[in-house]
Symmetry: C2
Subunit: 349 residues, 2 copies
């Protein structure tokens, strides 16, 4: 009997210790999560505060009328100039231009035809000045006419080696660390994060999951048609067609959001007039909505363009004075890269 009693005691003590260990783990976990403040690459200021206040308001208290149910928590992000560098040229345009030599190899008849001839000459200045209709010819020729799988493989291969001329780093390294933190912070608070880009939907999907943690089905972009067909052995495949379904810029952004998501976002982030309608549409919803614009005002660490600098419009989407005025009028928060961001890139110290 005493033996048995002692055994029982040992069992009980083990149980107690394991309980205490469990409690320690739980409490310790909560403490370490608290120690990691959100948005560490942001300086304290109105932009950071706007994000924190918005998230608190929509998630904190179910009985608050401003509370937003988890399934409705949609946040949309423009890509070029909002999540990563868009200067001196959109990454996708760089890709298309650099694909021209291998395109001409397969179709030598293009060699002496404009705009392919100019691109082959390698004159970057001439390329930068290509009129839109020539650029569209190059985009159509390099982004369509192959299977979706072949296209993905080609983009993936290019991204593994192509580098930005200024930083001599892969384009996928040139994402803004503070915006990566916003993506993570929103997701940690139950938001589904989407990219809503003027860039090609299929192009961005190749790297969005790896680079931003955003899966292909959460990338909304300029959409081209595909065509279902069969290989000789009967295996089905999809070919990228030169047919535009939706230009996901300007009014196309809310239209693309309705098409692909079917819900109005609660938060939207952009940087150029191409994002204006997305921000308007987001803000026009009931309850608390967050609309933010990234202002490129940091010539030293990145680039400065737009109204704060009095710079002329450049070829890439420019944050114009008119957009700045609309932001002020509509309660959109402007993010100053210079003042709001402690660092721009993850590779900085």
């Amino acid at each position: 009997m005493p033996k048995r009693k002692s055994n029982m005691k040992t069992q009980l003590m083990k149980l107690i210790f394991s309980t205490v260990a469990m409690l320690t783990l739980v409490v310790g976990g909560a403490a370490s999560a608290k120690a990691q403040e959100p948005l560490p690459s942001w300086n304290d200021g109105p932009a950071k505060q706007a994000i924190l206040a918005f998230v608190k308001e929509v998630t904190d208290n179910k009985s608050n009328p401003k509370y937003v149910a988890p399934e409705d928590r949609i946040a949309t992000f423009d890509q070029d100039g909002t999540l990563w560098v868009e200067h001196p040229m959109y990454t996708q345009v760089m890709y298309c231009l650099e694909r021209v030599p291998s395109l001409v190899e397969k179709k030598p008849e293009l060699k002496n035809i404009e705009p392919f001839k100019s691109v082959l000459s390698g004159n970057r200045e001439a390329m930068a000045k290509l009129p839109m209709k020539d650029l569209e010819k190059i985009l159509a020729a390099t982004l369509t006419g192959m299977s979706v799988d072949q296209f993905s493989a080609e983009v993936k291969e290019w991204l593994a080696t192509a580098k930005h001329p200024r930083w001599d780093r892969l384009y996928t390294e040139l994402t803004y660390q503070p915006m990566q933190e916003v993506l993570q912070y929103l997701r940690a608070n139950g938001f589904k994060t989407y990219i809503v880009t003027g860039g090609g939907q299929d192009f961005v999907r190749v790297y969005a999951e790896r680079v931003y943690g955003i899966p292909p089905e959460q990338v909304v972009g300029t959409m081209g048609g595909t065509k279902y067909g069969y290989e000789k052995d009967g295996k089905p495949f999809l070919t990228k067609e030169p047919k535009l379904l939706l230009n996901d810029n300007n009014a196309g952004k809310p239209e693309g959001i309705h098409l692909m998501i079917g819900r109005r976002p609660y938060a939207a982030f952009g940087n150029s007039p191409g994002d204006r309608q997305m921000l308007e549409y987001t803000k026009a919803g009931d309850g608390p909505r967050l609309a933010m614009l990234v202002l490129h005002d940091d010539a030293k660490r990145e680039y400065a363009y737009g109204p704060a600098q009095g710079l002329p419009d450049t070829k890439v989407g420019t944050f114009t004075q008119a957009l700045y005025d609309e932001a002020t009028k509509n309660g959109w928060t402007v993010i100053s890269m210079k003042n709001d961001w402690k660092r721009i890139f993850a590779f900085e110290n």
Copy 2:
């Protein structure tokens, strides 16, 4: 001292009891989950076994080469005839026909114009015989030309009262309980479930979340364009335009899947030739893929149409002999409603 010792003992006993209570909850929860076998409305047979074996294969063991990462677990479901009743007419077509009187009220000039005149006469037989081009006119007139919010509100209102003539029940009650269980079972195993329907994307989105647990962004359907504009007070809104972006039938299904999801499904469910390409595309992927076809062979509990009955093709998507042959050839599993399903609807005993 004895007092204190006794207090400590009480504290310890409380701790033990709460631990035991916690353990009981955990173990009890697991036991009750086990007691709830998956797919309870399915009879044991090859169809149920195919689903269980597929899910086990792709989720069971990470080191198994057939294991599928959670982010890749995509399952697509046709709606009409696969998830709910499609006879005697697609629900959406019923909706459009029943909208005609209120449409004519707003546009009296349509009153004496075909096909609106025929529809107003209320002759169901004549309506059932409307040629496709007339049906398209009715669809365009009743599905477009209003804001997306107004459209959703109208559909919601209609669904709250419109009833199926045979069962005298709301259309949304006529979902197949065994398929609801497949949706739940796949989701419980990490799958994202999508509807991929020939029906209107915006129409199905109105009820898909409530009826199937499928959110709007996971509804792929026939897609129309929208147009961004402003109300007099400056508030932006989207208008449904009579512009077809994608007919999500036949080859349109894999094209729509690529557009909206950007990944090939691992499992696909259909019931008609309109689903053929979706099933082919799914099956053509690497590794284990599940393709299933619902065969309507239960005239008593639902309807019988298609090859098993030697019935002629009807207006709604029909499981043809050719499809049956392709299923056999390609290793698709045919679900017999009569033999594989214990019950068809949730309201049955």
